[in-house]
């Protein structure tokens, strides 16, 4: 079955929602795809217990003239069509123009004990809690880096968790300077102030990070390195995330040029959000970590570009440039402490899918050689976790994405034009 859309948008987060709405407002046939069961992306993820923010409700409920295709995972791409897998079947959707709004995921770094059940990402535990994961009454340690730690703490507390503390690896000076600079973006400054107020009773510690998680069949406690020595904290859950990295696998498969390709790649776009491939646009966090406001603006721009309205898209440029300046502020103030790269020891699994320990990678200079010899990065996550972690650790540059971008069923793979021999493994 091959269905045609004037514009296909991949990712129904704030960027994708805005893109789809902008494109559909001029009468184009628009399909909005997302692998998740509901639209909203990360920041507007549906919460089973709490009401959605007003902006999210407006963006999702007021979507008009857009075919929303949830639980549709894009697994492969051809020049003018996407191979999509649903829980039931697989389809080929062709497009006139494409908007990539695939967002970001958390950067998760290895440390002893990070594979214990109960150790999650920070945004990870936030996402799980929104899905109904039981956190009420649980003692939670939040650690890692960036403003997402505060957002996660807030959500977890609203779900009844007892947040023991937020341990930010950046120094107190860096966080203070970040807060001061934030005044250039008043809306963000207000939001941050509101969060800090709601979290007033929760210890927020700087220059501190988790050295090790301890427990037998689940996490029972953590060893935290602080400027005043190592602190042991007993807990039921550890939520540790070190910032975000863009999801660029699909862009890479389409042949789009990437910036920072060796470390944490971003989709390369021009000032009107055109990628290096004709008729393919990108918007939001897949182009760099900058938060909600820029995702919405870029989404609208990319949607307009996809239907050829360059003039209307250009009108957004000053606002977009202003919001994008926030990226550098974020990156500069939450630079990772080099000590985080030395936490994993030889026995720490880095590739969680294949249980490849860090020690097994000694002597390999690139991801491909290590993969062939040790299976590192060959499992179901296709190197999404270990690839980003090893790049951050300075071990290997990131390898290029190959089809399928997510493990797919044999019947789906049968429809692909080209297929590597290990495509099915681990799905």
């Amino acid at each position: 079955m091959r269905e045609h859309y004037d514009v296909l948008v991949v990712g129904a987060g704030p960027a994708g929602l805005a893109a789809a709405q902008a494109a559909a407002s001029r009468g184009a046939r628009v399909g909005l795809l997302d692998a998740q069961p509901r639209a909203g992306g990360q920041v507007w993820r549906h919460d089973v217990r709490l009401p959605a923010p007003r902006a999210a409700r407006r963006a999702i409920d007021k979507l008009q003239g857009v075919e929303v295709l949830v639980r549709h995972s894009v697994v492969a791409a051809e020049p003018t069509a996407l191979r999509v897998e649903t829980p039931q079947d697989s389809r080929l959707l062709s497009f006139g123009a494409l908007v990539l709004a695939t967002g970001a995921r958390e950067l998760l770094l290895p440390f002893p004990g990070w594979t214990l059940p109960g150790v999650t990402g920070a945004g990870g535990l936030q996402a799980l809690a929104k899905q109904g994961w039981p956190v009420a009454g649980k003692r939670v340690v939040i650690a890692g880096s960036g403003p997402l730690l505060l957002a996660a703490a807030d959500t977890l507390r609203k779900h009844g968790a007892q947040v023991l503390g937020i341990f930010e690896q950046a120094s107190a000076d860096a966080v203070r300077s970040f807060a001061w600079q934030l005044r250039q973006w008043p809306a963000r400054a207000w939001q941050a102030a509101g969060l800090r107020l709601r979290l007033a009773g929760v210890p927020y510690r700087f220059g501190s990070f988790v050295r090790e998680a301890v427990g037998d069949d689940a996490v029972r406690g953590v060893e935290i390195e602080t400027p005043r020595g190592v602190q042991h904290v007993e807990c039921d859950l550890l939520a540790a995330g070190y910032g975000l990295v863009p999801n660029t696998e699909l862009a890479s498969l389409l042949g789009c040029a990437l910036d920072d390709a060796d470390t944490h790649p971003r989709v390369q776009v021009d000032s009107l959000l055109r990628t290096s491939v004709a008729n393919v646009h990108a918007a939001g966090e897949s182009c760099g970590i900058g938060g909600l406001a820029v995702a919405r603006i870029e989404g609208a721009m990319a949607g307009l570009m996809a239907i050829g309205d360059t003039a209307a898209a250009s009108a957004w440029m000053p606002q977009r440039d202003r919001e994008r300046r926030f990226d550098a502020l974020l990156a500069r103030h939450f630079t990772l402490d080099p000590r985080l790269r030395t936490l994993a020891d030889d026995q720490t699994p880095v590739c969680r899918c294949e249980d490849v320990r860090l020690g097994a990678l000694a002597g390999f200079g690139d991801a491909r050689a290590a993969k062939l010899a040790t299976r590192c990065g060959m499992g179901a996550c296709q190197g999404r976790i270990c690839g980003a972690a090893l790049a951050e650790l300075g071990r290997f540059p990131r390898g290029a994405a190959r089809p399928p971008v997510f493990p797919a069923r044999l019947a789906t793979l049968a429809g692909l034009a080209t297929l590597p021999s290990d495509a099915y493994r681990g799905s």
């Binding site: 692998a35 998740q36 069961p37 509901r38 990360q42 549906h46 089973v48 217990r49 639980r71 995921r105 958390e106 998760l108 594979t115 059940p117 109960g118 150790v119 999650t120 990402g121 945004g123 990870g124 535990l125 936030q126 996402a127 799980l128 899905q131 109904g132 994961w133 039981p134 069949d217 689940a218 999801n247 699994p349 969680r352 899918c353 294949e354 249980d355 499992g379 179901a380 996550c381 999404r384 976790i385 493990p407 681990g426 799905s427």
Partner: protein, 81 residues
């Protein structure tokens, strides 16, 4: 749609709010979602469909990501299978 969904995890009846994920249902029963290649217990890490640590068996289908799958009435889930 009722406000709760009833399903079965490793033989135990479980109730979750409508719209909850299979991951949320499994977590009420066990944190052992799957076993790693070396036999170690594993549980969700990313909560958003990228790490594949939350894979369980749902209605006889293996390797289903629990965090990406909405819980539905009467579902039979097997973790650490």
């Amino acid at each position: 749609m009722s406000a709760v969904v009833r399903l079965v995890v490793n033989g135990h009846p479980v109730e979750v709010p409508a719209g909850a994920s299979v991951a949320a249902a499994v977590a009420q029963v066990t944190l052992r979602f799957r076993r790693s290649v070396d036999g170690a217990p594993r549980a969700p890490l990313c909560g958003m469909g990228v790490c594949f640590e939350c894979r369980v068996q749902v209605d006889g289908v293996a390797h289903v990501r629990a965090c990406m799958t909405p819980a539905s009435e009467g579902m039979q889930v097997v973790a650490d299978a």
